[in-house]
Symmetry: D3
Subunit: 272 residues, 6 copies
């Protein structure tokens, strides 16, 4: 073997040992149902590379990535053309993470990957609530006749979790906005403090100026610090799983979207 | 004929029937006098395509595009190298819209296209005022010796409309800023509530981070929601015409500028 | 109605009347099974726009587009997430074209759209042969377990057409290259002169320098004129259908790939 | 004053002294009549910068730029919106170059800038012939009703020069191609050896793979070395003026088009 | 000589005469120690070009660039691979500026160029304080074993200036943040009013949405107007030198980052 | 541990076991002396990712990557700002590869990384010759006063290897071209068949149309197949080391340059 030194090719600051880690990060390179611009399949690896452009220390949370104790398990190999089988593979792996007594941290891929992940999490924690950051409601029953769509992911999840709260929403059908109101799914989260929660972040919750590299850019979103303010509120919550989805790196030739996604993940890890 | 189904290639949510529509949308692919970066000629068609990435429902105005009752008439064919003839064609078509008892909604093209449109509108409504969103004063008498320039469009308009108000201005010569002060053309609009107004939106009123795809990016602009706040103020005004100009789509390879332009148009339609 | 003049938004030089046209052009915006980089769904409309940057006269074939007598029928609306239903819609529409006694000219979309098109063509012309321009063999039985993949399209077609010839191939598995040899599917086409043929052009047959905007760029391809030389050879063949697929316009910010695709289509129309 | 050293900001290898130079290089940042994609106005300065990425030695011609003895006079300031005045300014300055007993070397800008330059050259050399490298015939009488268009430049020139030869042409109307034939304007140049010639190079004569950053990319062009082979043929001709036009640098984010344009200029200077 | 008119190729609004100018602007095209994405070497010339897209009048400061009385001295020629020699050349030239009784205004280049500039300034003004705008602390002692790194520039400066204040910092190691606290280097600047100060602006202090074209984009930064608010606070301070660094223009194909950098410089000049 | 399946993140087709491999591939992410456009430091990892877009079978050589028996050892961590130390680390690791009785295959990084690699190879094989593919001679003694420059790498190598042959050269100073002639370093290679050779491929030997993503694009290069023809000639030579350098992936937003680089490496591996 060679003496190197060699560049580490895993997420910066990870714990290389699965067994002793508290959190398992899993890349989910799937974008088979994207209705607008695809490419989210390339996100997990590009974010991993971009993580090395960050510091491992977060001044906001006064904490190092090493304190988080997460293991980067790599990216699943998913058959893009077969949505159902892809979702099964994700669900099975996330289930194994919870069976090992660990927490799951997903890196998408499109938002539909959240469905099997939350299914596996809800199997482990029956009273699970979901805190959902997004520009879009994702509450359709189907899209162009397809039930399995990233536009329907939260609707499907709403059928088996106890509670959902949505933050940053600014686009959807009138029916979807009515559904939010009827179900009490708005952005108030304080009553969830004693509930196990799964945090899912669709990066298009950020304004397109901050995150141009995404499949469905929607003007009028929040800036980076506002999102991290929300994470800070979640610091004392009982987060048992999380994911960050919908970066489409090729749509931003400046590379900034990927760098922002990496920092969103770093800061979200700090409160998990 | 074929059974399809076929994609609709007009603006999302339009009324396909000219006769029954209240508003007529007209694409104005002209950029012959642009002083810096051209390409606004490509905007009308790219915005039309991008409109399908939006929802037809605006949660901000709790209204559907279909409720607006606008007809997408397509894009005029303009002889780019001949400024005067291009302006004549625009004026004649806009005049026909007003003669048909309808309102005009233009999609530029560079800002000079607003001159013939407002001329035609002022012919129909003699006491017309103009509400002007822009980074630049556009109050020069000429630019490099040319009277017909997108830098002079509002100066020319000021000669035949009753009133002009400017919002978002952050660039111009000292003479232009003095002209604004002398004429009382600042951003206060409340006294215009009972006046017929024409709303012209130069997209560079938005910050370049939000709208990089424009000919003359000018740092320090407003964000998307601030612009829509202004539109909300205009909801109770008597808007008899409007346009949105100066997207240069090729300068933003992420496609976000075009998506933002489409949403600006959707929201402005909601208050027309 | 307005006097305009208005820009024509159909393919340059088309016959606006379906009934009297000899050839029907159909846009097929589908890219649901793409194994590498998606985005071919955006190709048909962008190519249509780019057609107006060309002349309607081809000096190579000394012929005008108007002489071809083709009708641009627009783009099918396809449920991207549902491969089978998308393919059914394509097949049904192409069948209608042949039932109307016309020839089909498809604009993809990914290469899988060729499967239902050739199925419909073969139903009309039982002894059909396929002339296949591509960098890739596309002869897999499945890809990542999926039978319906753009990597398998020609294999599936090989089961129901009389003959296939492949031109420009430079990538595949050893098994695929052996399959070509066993089946006699190489680039010799002279014996097909009296056979009805369907010509399918995967644009990645061109070198990536000529066509960077494609899903699976493969170095070492032919240049533009070599491809048109092949078309010239096909001038005296009995082409009853054709398609041009796999432009992914967003991957080429220079716009050149889209312009090249439009010209490939213009020249192929000249020999259909 | 400071001791530096400072970067030279003129064209690499120029003679800083106008009086003693044999050739005067003039930047012509005009693109007011471009029918497709504009931006050629930015070319002269970007090419100047890119010249420093080259060597001053040409191995093909075994000669240094310093041996050419050319002076970089800078870029004219042209009123883009006023075509006629812009052309007048160019003509007047080129006339001064010839009156000073020097030869002219122009850097466009769009192709229309060649019209006043050749006018001034023809005033000095009445029997002038033009050797024209281009993808397009540029032989229209007018474009969209405009006489002054980059699509008409060679037609206008044909009215006052003795002879024109066109090399690389692959696009035009049937009428234009007939005009070429009638006038004997094809690519044979040997009989011009004893004639004063003006060489005008529209960079889109190169294939779009080589030169994506141009206003009207036209597939099927020549590669770089073929163009330089033509320059080599011209080595023994009596070139009294030349220009290189139609780079639109912003359309090629890789910067390669600008680098290629700079090298085309370096090699053309070698034979002037 | 020619009558022109010619485009001015220096910074807009400069005083062409070194002797009578109060401020000397110097381009410093060096990026040899950049840890992430290079390219800052191309900034000085691209910003100079972009300055012509601005007005010379600043409405914020109600002042013209001509009132600033600055001379654009051009760009130093620096041996990129030799960090120490490059820094020496910079120091020597800046020293000459102060010896001539003028103030220095630098345009980077990477941030390390600030070290020799401040050294020369501190030689002229021994009680100098530095006001430092940046996303990053730049307080490392070394980076990957290298003392001379843009990540260490402020640490080295801290050893010979009286005081440093940091504004906009949001990234660094825990040790660096502790260093800031210990040394009292936070953003309070009011007590520096009677001190000679050097203002150094790393453009990544702006949010990456505003300034994507930089080497180390760091989410969560300030917007343009907030930065100019800081400049306005500095209006009454005794600024004896300043620089603006770390634009990497090639990373932003929209050109907006370069336009923003030019305006940052214009506004900073207004308070110098 | 999880059941996956997981994506392999090493070079496609590698042997995961160092000990049993014949060839060791080493990434060398260094670009500290690049004279024009940097970014080659990002190449090794992006090429590794792009390798998965290729087939593992080469039809040209009728061979699989698995038959090559190479091990992907990862990328060295190099202190960019310290050229000498970076070169030492490379030399030491390459020496270890030869001491283990294996052959070296480097992936740059800029061309200077070839110097320590060939040093280590020449220590193992004293009569080594170098076959050098490049647009540039790289034969300067120094560049801007720096001895250690990618423009000088072959000159330095020429001092300790037996022989050098250069292929594809089209740029250099007159002195460099004279040096080639004097030393007999032209493209004839047949007499090297019985000599141990090291093959170094600067990717800018390819035409910029094929490889825009490189630091110093130089028009007039060879196309992909011509380069592979050269590799085919080398099939029977005794190649004991090789490298492929100077991809700068960020300069080609289409991603094609990276895909081409990956295929160049695959084909070169086939003949090693």
């Amino acid at each position: 073997m060679l003496t190197g030194p060699f560049l580490d090719r895993n997420w910066m600051g990870q714990n290389a040992d699965f067994a002793s880690a508290d959190i398992v990060m899993l890349g989910l390179p799937f974008d088979g149902t994207v209705s607008n611009r695809a490419g989210a399949r390339f996100a997990p690896e590009q974010i991993r590379l971009a993580s090395w452009g960050l510091e491992d220390y977060s001044p906001r949370f006064n904490k190092h990535l090493q304190d988080v104790n997460f293991h980067d398990a790599g990216d699943l190999e998913l058959p893009l053309g077969n949505t159902y089988r892809s979702l099964d593979i994700i669900e099975e792996n996330v289930r194994q993470i919870y069976q090992a007594g660990k927490r799951f941290f997903g890196v998408g891929g499109e938002h539909l990957v959240t469905l099997p992940a939350v299914k596996a999490a809800a199997a482990a924690f029956p009273d699970l609530a979901v805190v959902h950051f997004d520009a879009h409601t994702d509450l359709r029953e189907q899209y162009l006749g397809e039930e399995m769509s990233h536009s329907a992911v939260i609707r499907h999840i709403s059928k088996f979790v106890k509670d959902i709260r949505q933050i940053g929403i600014r686009s959807g059908t009138k029916e979807e906005f009515d559904f939010i109101k009827t179900r009490g799914m708005d952005a108030s989260i304080n009553d969830l403090k004693d509930t196990k929660i799964f945090v899912t972040v669709d990066l298009d919750v950020l304004d397109p100026s901050v995150m141009p590299g995404t499949g469905t850019p929607e003007a009028g979103g929040m800036d980076f610090n506002t999102l991290i303010d929300w994470f800070e509120k979640l610091k004392d919550f009982d987060i048992i799983g999380a994911d960050v989805v919908e970066l489409s790196p090729d749509y931003d030739p400046s590379g900034v979207s990927t760098a922002v996604a990496a920092k969103v993940i770093r800061e979200l890890l700090m409160v998990c």
